[in-house]
């Protein structure tokens, strides 16, 4: 009852015309920013931060929050239409989203992405509203051993659920881990594998790598042939998902939302994990896993929902404990602190209108984004009617602009081009590129958390067995690894062999 009254208070605040206007503006800016590779939510929020100094704290946080989850919506648009991930968490959407575009189902993919994001965001807000303090306490129990176990489990899940050759999937994930080793080692200060290039001391960014591997390699494969891609142009009535597609999306949206929210509340975890795991789960439990990679709607609904739910879950530690889960929430905390307010355990009691106003604005923001994005599906899909000879040069320039904007350095553009060439060659040899992105993002976190864990335990590996959460996750990972190796030991077919047989 208290929660309902507080929520009503929140809506009173959020439905103020000025607050509503800023929420709307934040959503639009966020969507545009999210569509631009290289300009992710962090860039959008950082650019707007000085503008919020003169605003009241509720409006400031509503505006920045709108940019954040707007960017999650926007990132999927270029993933689906052009196979260019707007940000790291949209990488998995590239796979089946672009395949749906090629089959003339771009509208359905965009619509399901918007609908799934809406439901995931809304469910995430409900979770935030009801469970913030409890979940925040759970998140606090995550230390370096738990992070290590979570990331290792993520790798085992990836290997077990990969549809193609497990060895080749592992090879790509390990290749991604290797890329993640470039840069300054946080524990010792050594600069590794920078080859005297100062910009590489910061490491290799996920945006140039993802844009190169997915976007540039696709253009090289298609434009290199001198004719456009075979994309079926949808009729007007085919722009929305069919009943069957909507029915097929319900399960993935619900599962993705729950998974994404749980992963999102863990401080420091990469949201990219949620979309990868969601994709793997949907493929594994599907009755027709052979459809994945070729335009399965579940391959869009699940990861997109997981991605948005993780974005909402990230606010739980931020609001309930004042702990940033990543750079974006750190900047948002800074925006609130400028006004003399410290997010933390007492925020809900001391500033109820701020907390509940923000929660209510997230409901409104999700609705605004759905209203904005669904009608624009037709407009976005019509971009595909532009002759490919004009489209791909503009996309290439767009990618150069985006990657340069990451840190105003041509090094990122060079990385994008090199990875574009590497991605082209790897695709020719039949490798799946998505695990490279996962490995790159997880490598620094995995190494740091492992070494921190060993520092905590004075070099004793038993620390992973002594902490219940870490032990549970390692056991789950080991079970999946053994299940994955079972066909090699028993010489029986596993689901991948059956998948291959069906495909042939």
């Amino acid at each position: 009852m208290d929660t309902l009254q507080n929520l009503l208070l929140g809506f009173q605040v959020a439905l103020d015309i000025k607050v509503l206007g800023y929420a709307f503006a934040g959503c639009i800016i966020g969507t545009l920013v999210g569509m631009m590779p290289g300009l992710g939510p962090l860039a959008g929020i950082s650019l707007l931060l000085p503008a919020t100094f003169g605003l009241n704290p509720i409006i400031a946080i509503v505006l920045l929050g709108g940019v954040y989850y707007g960017a999650m919506y926007g990132g999927s648009t270029t993933s689906i239409l052009m196979r260019i991930p707007g940000e790291a968490a949209s990488v998995m959407t590239c796979v089946d989203g672009y395949a749906m575009t090629q089959k003339g189902r771009a509208g359905a993919a965009l619509a399901i992405s918007a609908i799934g994001s809406f439901f995931a965001g809304t469910l995430g807000v409900i979770g935030l509203m009801l469970l913030a303090p409890t979940l925040a306490a759970f998140a606090l129990r995550f230390g370096p051993p738990e992070y290590t176990a979570l990331l290792v489990m993520g790798f085992f899940i990836l290997a077990y659920m990969s549809g193609g050759s497990m060895v080749k999937t592992l090879a790509m994930a390990i290749f991604g881990l290797m890329l993640g080793m470039i840069g300054i080692d946080a524990m010792s200060g050594y600069t590794r594998f920078s080859f005297s290039v100062l910009a590489l001391s910061d490491g290799v960014g996920i945006v140039p790598v993802a844009v190169g591997l997915f976007g540039i390699s696709e253009i090289l494969m298609v434009a290199g042939q001198g004719k456009g891609p075979e994309i079926k142009h949808p009729k007007l009535r085919e722009l929305m998902p069919s009943r069957e597609e909507l029915r097929s999306s319900v399960g993935p949206i619900l599962r993705g939302s729950l998974l994404g929210f749980i992963i999102g509340i863990i401080p420091g975890s990469a949201h990219i994990i949620s979309s990868f795991v969601s994709y793997g789960i949907e493929r594994r439990i599907s009755k027709h896993p052979e459809r994945f990679g070729k335009g399965a709607i579940e391959g869009v609904a699940g990861p997109e929902s997981a991605n948005n739910a993780a974005a909402t879950g990230a606010f739980v530690p931020m609001l309930a404990l004042g702990i940033p889960t990543g750079p974006v929430t750190a900047v948002m905390i800074a925006a609130v602190m400028v006004h003399g307010i410290s997010p933390g355990p007492t925020l809900i009691q001391q500033q109820p209108e701020l907390f509940w106003g923000f929660v209510a604005s997230m409901y409104i923001g999700n609705t605004v984004l759905l209203i904005l994005n669904l009608p624009m599906v037709g407009l976005f899909v019509n971009l595909l009617r532009i002759p490919y000879a004009y489209l791909y040069p503009c996309i290439l320039c767009f990618c150069i602009l985006g990657c340069y904007s990451v840190s105003n350095s041509t090094v990122d553009v060079w990385i994008m081009l090199v990875m574009g060439g590497v991605g082209y060659v790897l695709r020719k040899f039949g490798y799946d590129l998505a695990p490279v992105a996962l490995g790159l993002v997880l490598a620094p976190m995995l190494e740091l958390s492992l070494r921190q864990s060993l520092a905590m335990s004075a070099g004793d590996y038993a620390i992973f067995l002594q902490r219940p959460i870490a032990l549970t996750m390692l056991i789950m990972g080991a079970v999946l690894l053994l299940l994955g190796l079972k066909p090699l030991l028993t010489k029986k077919k596993d689901w991948r062999d059956e998948l291959e047989a069906v495909s042939e």
Binding site: Y424, F429, L450, A455
Partner: protein, 152 residues
């Protein structure tokens, strides 16, 4: 040359992964390894290189059944290389010449030379895209973009 005909995609890619692993392990010799209980900066990269090499060897050994390299079509490779080189040249010129001039020139190359579109369309798209994108991203969003010696 029978080895050439026996070279499959998996065997070649496995060998390439092995070469990358060996290169990383060689470069890694400059960093202290530490111990198993207290890994140094060189420990994890060496471990990763070892795993990559192992996986590369497995791919080579199991690669007999994959399609042969000679059977794979690389028809689009020359044009793809031209596209990549053009982007490379543009990247090199981006800061000295400025964003608008560089992107405009790149679009003229792609549309005019590679795709052989009509001059009016080439001019419109090149000038329009470079100017509009600079205005939206550089001026409105205030993302610092390179400006050339003549203010472009």
């Amino acid at each position: 040359m029978s080895w050439h005909r026996n070279l499959t995609n998996d065997r070649l890619s496995g060998l390439m992964l092995l070469a990358v692993a060996a290169f990383v392990a060689w470069q890694n010799r400059a960093y202290p390894l530490g111990t198993l209980q207290e890994p140094g900066p060189g420990y994890t990269p060496l471990l990763i290189a070892a795993f990559l090499g192992l996986v590369g060897v497995i791919i080579v050994l199991r690669g007999g059944s994959s399609p042969g390299v000679v059977e794979t079509s690389w028809r689009e490779a020359p044009r793809a290389l031209v596209i990549l080189i053009a982007c490379g040249v543009a990247t090199y010129a981006l800061e000295p010449l400025g964003y608008r001039l560089t992107i405009g020139a790149l679009l003229v190359f792609f549309l005019g030379v590679l795709e052989r579109r009509k001059p009016l369309a080439v001019a419109a798209v090149s000038i329009g895209f470079s100017m509009l994108s600079f205005y939206l991203i550089g001026d409105l969003l205030r993302v610092p973009l390179p400006v050339g010696p003549w203010g472009w």
